[in-house]
């Protein structure tokens, strides 16, 4: 079983559209949506949910105002500025460390479990989909990512799937690290823009620190020829294979609006995607 994770550094380069196309082309892969705080794959995959379970993401402090004698020690010791002058806890800033509970002389503070979201296993026309419905504004997205991947691996093991396709988040922080840890291949979908190039370099550095093999796809490749050449030169320098390029094309949007992947509509992009997918298969088996 091989796990392929799509990342990008910069957001909006086409990760989810690419994963959906690979899912359609590969048939029988398990799909994992690890872009948990902007999860969009279900819009194309039209999943039928078969299993749901809550995931505990973190703890949050709460103060019992009857016991509290307003000494303010909790506020003084909190390193996340989560307790304001009136000794109210701001949930969005509370990291659930428990320091306030520990220091409170009145035992007025307790820590409560918070649901970070719901882990869902669904059936789709391309195979199993492991995904979450995240509670809005919750932290613990790294935990959710890990849960999504764990479920995907279990399902792949049971069903004998050869490939797990992981849709990763943008950036280089905790959900990205959780998405590519131990992956067999990270595919970076980049675009030939100054920011696309800048972000590609940072996320590539992260992948190489984590010893995950990398390959690149250039999306919207005709938007800027000069920067495309710079990306190609960078990849050559770093010995990163380029799997293919896809010109700017609104068929991605057209197919998305009709709930389809780009390879399910009549589009010249289909050929590009097939080429990239067979490149991925070759890489995984050499």
């Amino acid at each position: 079983m091989k796990e392929i994770t799509i990342i990008s550094g910069k957001g909006g380069t086409g990760k989810t559209s690419f994963i959906a196309a690979f899912a359609a082309l590969s048939k029988g892969s398990v799909i994992a949506d690890c872009d948990v705080d902007a999860s969009n794959l279900h819009i194309i995959l039209d999943p039928e949910d078969v299993k749901e379970e809550p995931i505990i993401g973190s703890f949050k402090a709460s103060i019992d105002s009857k016991r509290c004698d307003l000494c303010g020690l909790c506020r003084e010791k909190c390193r996340f500025s989560a307790i304001d002058e009136e000794l109210r806890i701001h949930n969005e800033l509370c990291e659930g460390c428990g320091v306030c509970e520990f220091v409170c002389p009145q035992e007025a503070i307790s820590m409560n479990e918070c649901e970070a979201g719901t882990l869902i296993l669904s059936n789709t026309r391309f195979g199993w989909l492991s995904h979450v419905k995240m509670k809005s504004g919750e932290e613990g997205s790294g935990k959710l990512v890990t849960a999504v991947r764990k479920q995907a691996r279990a399902v792949a093991g049971e069903s004998g799937a050869e490939t797990i396709l992981v849709d990763g988040p943008p950036g280089i922080g905790c959900p990205v690290i959780a998405s590519i840890t131990g992956s067999d291949l990270a595919i970076i979908v980049c675009e030939p823009t100054l920011s696309g190039m800048h972000d590609l370099k940072r996320v590539n550095k992260l992948a190489s620190q984590m010893k995950v093999p990398v390959a690149i796809c250039i999306n919207k490749s005709d938007i800027n020829e000069e920067i495309k050449r710079q990306i190609e030169a960078y990849c050559k320098d770093m010995a990163i294979p380029i799997l293919g390029e896809v010109p700017y094309n609104l068929d991605f949007v057209t197919s998305m609006v009709s709930g389809k992947s780009v390879v399910e509509i009549d589009s010249p992009i289909k050929g590009h995607m097939k080429g990239i997918w067979s490149g991925i298969i070759d890489m995984l088996h050499t």
């Binding site: 910069k10 996340f80 990291e95 460390c97 809005s136 504004g137 922080g173 800027n224 709930g259």
Partner: protein, 278 residues
């Protein structure tokens, strides 16, 4: 006044809106809060100087004093500490520096040491004061860098905060205590889905917001319909155009080449001012 520019979905044009709004205003402060992938200055091109390091306090355990009681490891809710038979082991990347282990240690065996996780840089050009945070590669937690960056906000300044994508902690840290959020979306099912996610968070946080629709003309009507149903103000529409995309790809502001875009951003700002709660 603090105005965050956020989106949920990545690549919808947050930085484009931030930069062009800043340049159309002139006198303002801009913070690039997307510390994982800080791109704003590719457009603003402000000469930057390092202002300070960002660090977390991680425990340093004095083996002489440590009696291996394990209270620190029991306390740590992130499982960053593990008690082994001969020592207590720290997993650095997981530690968020709450300081709890030091508080609970009965033998005063824990001290704290700084661990660098990023840097704050800043500079000024043509009336725009620009600052950014840069998260060190390999570090998982961006909110402390965003928090440090936001300490540089000055009362009385108009401050634009270019938010990271998504709807979880880095976004929340950025928009927290802002007076208004400009949400940039694209008129597609993906754009709508992620827009709803950030709208939910902002409703909970009671932060007023309006929406800029970028790449107007592609996709479908679902975003416009949803916003009108919810009574959310549309601050402006930026047309989908290859020409604008090319300008953006070279790091060039769109207001320089398109006079009607300058007017659009001035209008957006006026609507924002009216939307800020008194």
């Amino acid at each position: 006044m603090k105005i965050a520019i956020a989106s949920g979905k990545g690549g919808t044009g947050k930085t484009t809106v931030t930069v062009n709004l800043a340049l159309s205003l002139g006198d303002c402060t801009v913070l690039d809060c997307d510390v994982e992938e800080p791109d704003t200055n590719l457009y603003l091109k402000v000469p930057l100087k390092k202002l300070e390091d960002v660090y977390l306090l991680n425990p340093k355990i004095d083996k002489e004093k440590c009696e291996l009681c394990g209270k620190c490891a029991d306390f740590c809710r992130y499982n960053a500490l593990a008690r082994l038979p001969s020592e207590v082991l720290l997993f650095q990347g997981i530690c968020n520096g709450c300081g709890g282990c030091k508080l609970v240690c009965p033998f005063d065996a824990i001290d704290e040491a700084k661990r660098n996780i990023g840097v704050i840089e800043g500079g000024e050009k043509d009336g725009i004061r620009f600052l950014r945070g840069v998260l060190s590669i390999g570090e998982a937690r961006s909110p402390p860098v965003i928090g440090k960056l936001k300490e540089n906000i000055r009362d009385g300044d108009v401050t634009l905060l270019d938010s990271p994508p998504g709807s979880s902690c880095p976004f929340v840290k950025t928009v927290s205590d802002c007076d208004y959020a400009i949400l940039v979306t694209e008129p597609t099912p993906f754009g709508l889905h992620d827009l709803k996610m950030v709208m939910d968070v902002l409703d909970d946080m009671k932060i007023p917001y309006g929406v800029v629709i970028n790449k107007h003309g592609i996709g479908d009507e679902s975003v416009e319909n949803y916003l009108s149903e919810k009574g959310v103000e549309i601050l402006g529409r930026i047309p989908n155009s290859i020409k604008l995309a090319k300008l953006g790809s070279e790091g060039r502001p769109i207001i320089d080449d398109e006079p009607e875009m300058l007017k659009l951003f001035k209008d957006i700002y006026e609507k924002v001012i009216r939307g800020v709660r008194p």
